[in-house]
Point group: C2
């Protein structure tokens, strides 16, 4: 597949599939072809957070040291060490469109032969024929239809199985890599480091909760019960010998913006002490975390690396970051400059060294 650029904005409020297409990332290249920014002395086996440059690494480790040292003024008891992470753009990439949309697109193509009636819908017909731009021209209605087809009308178990099958074989349109390999190596190391220090790590994402649960445990070591996300409807159907939870199309919970602190309360029940995000959708989560009593850490992943990943922030139509940059110093959020602060972006780069 070629790298796709769309000329039309398209918004919808449902889940992360509220896709707004990105502009200006045609220049990016996910592979670091010349290796120029790849460090030559990664001792990842022993050094904690080895993919981080020294300055941000030290800042994080000093904070963790302060809050985990008994007797420290900033000490946080282990039971209160709750760390929350956005997913899209924070733990894995999100360009050129949310990977959950890639799943929906791939699923529609896979299932199309069984559904000749889909050809009657101009948007779906365009999508099936590979004309993604034509599909997006259908706007919110087309996206809602694509979500309904691929995310509902089946049991939670069946959906889980479909996502698992998809992620085994699907590849990113630009890098050609499996989506679950386009996770951020430095963030994996941060998750490990926090867990080694008694933190419980949670995902709090605008993405669909069932979509993430299908692969996040393997990818990040975060189990389903530590994943918070947007939710469609669920109905318990016990009319057969094997009762199931069926997925239904209504949006039951939108875990984005001010919804994130609500999702945190509903599924976690403690105010976090550490939060990481990358867009203004994470603003309230970061704010809720940082304004609690005691030592807190807020982190923003700033997508500055047009060579190895993608460069976008204030003007981006996906993962837009405006307010977060404006208020980072006010709340003492550490803004991670991906180009400068991360020696490695993706785990598979480690194999190239």
């Amino acid at each position: 597949m070629n790298f796709i650029i769309f000329s039309r904005k398209c918004m919808t409020s449902i889940l992360v599939l509220s896709l707004i297409l990105t502009f200006g990332c045609a220049e990016k290249s996910a592979q670091n072809a010349d290796g120029s920014s790849t460090p030559d002395k990664l001792s990842g086996q022993t050094l904690k957070m080895a993919s981080w440059e020294d300055a941000p690494r030290t800042k994080i480790m000093d904070w963790v040291d302060a809050v985990t040292t008994a007797g420290s003024a900033d000490f946080i008891p282990e039971k209160d060490r709750i760390a929350v992470f956005d997913n899209d753009g924070t733990l894995w990439s999100e360009q050129p469109y949310y990977f959950q949309l890639a799943f929906a697109i791939d699923e529609i193509k896979r299932l199309a032969p069984e559904h000749p009636e889909w050809e009657k819908d101009p948007s779906l017909k365009a999508l099936i024929s590979g004309d993604l731009q034509g599909f997006m021209a259908g706007g919110e209605k087309a996206l809602l239809s694509a979500v309904a087809i691929t995310h509902t009308g089946m049991s939670v178990d069946e959906f889980d199985s479909r996502v698992k099958n998809w992620i085994k074989t699907a590849t990113h349109p630009k890098t050609g890599k499996p989506y679950n390999e386009m996770i951020f190596q430095p963030m994996l190391e941060l998750l490990d480091f926090l867990r080694e220090n008694g933190f419980k790590t949670f995902i709090v994402s605008g993405g669909g909760i069932d979509f993430m649960r299908a692969w996040a445990e393997d990818a990040y070591g975060i189990p389903p019960y530590q994943i918070v996300g947007s939710q469609l409807g669920l109905t318990y159907v016990d009319t057969t010998a094997s009762p199931q939870l069926m997925k239904t199309p209504e949006l039951a919970f939108n875990d984005d913006k001010a919804g994130k602190p609500v999702g945190i309360s509903r599924n976690i029940g403690k105010r976090p002490v550490f939060a990481a995000g990358n867009s203004d959708g994470d603003y309230q989560m970061l704010q809720y975390t940082s304004t609690g009593d005691g030592a807190r850490f807020g982190l923003i992943v700033h997508h500055t690396d047009s060579v190895r990943e993608a460069a976008y922030d204030r003007e981006s139509h996906i993962g837009q970051l405006n307010k977060g940059l404006d208020d980072a110093s006010k709340y003492n959020w550490m803004v991670v400059d991906m180009a400068k602060d991360w020696k490695v972006i993706y785990p598979y780069e480690l194999n190239n060294q």
Copy 2:
């Protein structure tokens, strides 16, 4: 306070405060005055599940042994060892009325001096003067009003603080014991035993999630993020320097009956392999658990002990158990006869031996 018996049924759908008052428990006595059913050889420090009689104890331990033995046909990987427990009537007592209602009643009395306007409401006025029967005569409207006053219009943190303060000093109308001491010793031992064997233990209760989170970690060793319950509304308010989640009166989620499997999916994301309940409100949770693939265990706490706790089931207007008894053999649920199967009911009885 005297033991209260009501002559009027009263139903409301909100949270566990959908109180339906119990009949026929006047004869019960929570203290085992003569010690007749207390075993004389409890070696609780070393023997696992020491408060259980041999037969049910062996049945549970054999199952745990089978599912945790590598190579066993019934082996369950540790990441899938999800155990869910109802709370009211399963982990602690629920008579003569749900303890969450006791909280609401006590709070209204505590706050009444600051709210002379409450005297204008006949139901609240009755409650404040100690006439609980008069309050209940107000039916669902009175209960909704009591819930709104005591559970909403404040931040989650403030509510948490109020519940914590209440449970430190409040005592049960019959036993005179703190509510968080009226938890079931055999179930504490079961929770411990499962956790020692790699299970994650969750509460899945019709009770209010924020109410339980305030004390359940201390009482059961179950952290807030492993508690699923009914939920009122939440609104994130960031107009001050210290943003808060405010509790609002709408019922956002009713974690009872068919809602329990839904709550399990929303907050846990894995089909449990072990479930324990005590009423028909737990039927679907038990059914959803037992009909999954592989080895499963379902347990029903049957309140048969009119001397040490309370005896009620099919005819009770709180914790009614009909369908669960009818279908226990169909689903292979172990029905625990509290009078016969438990050597001890409450932890404080251990001090009397």
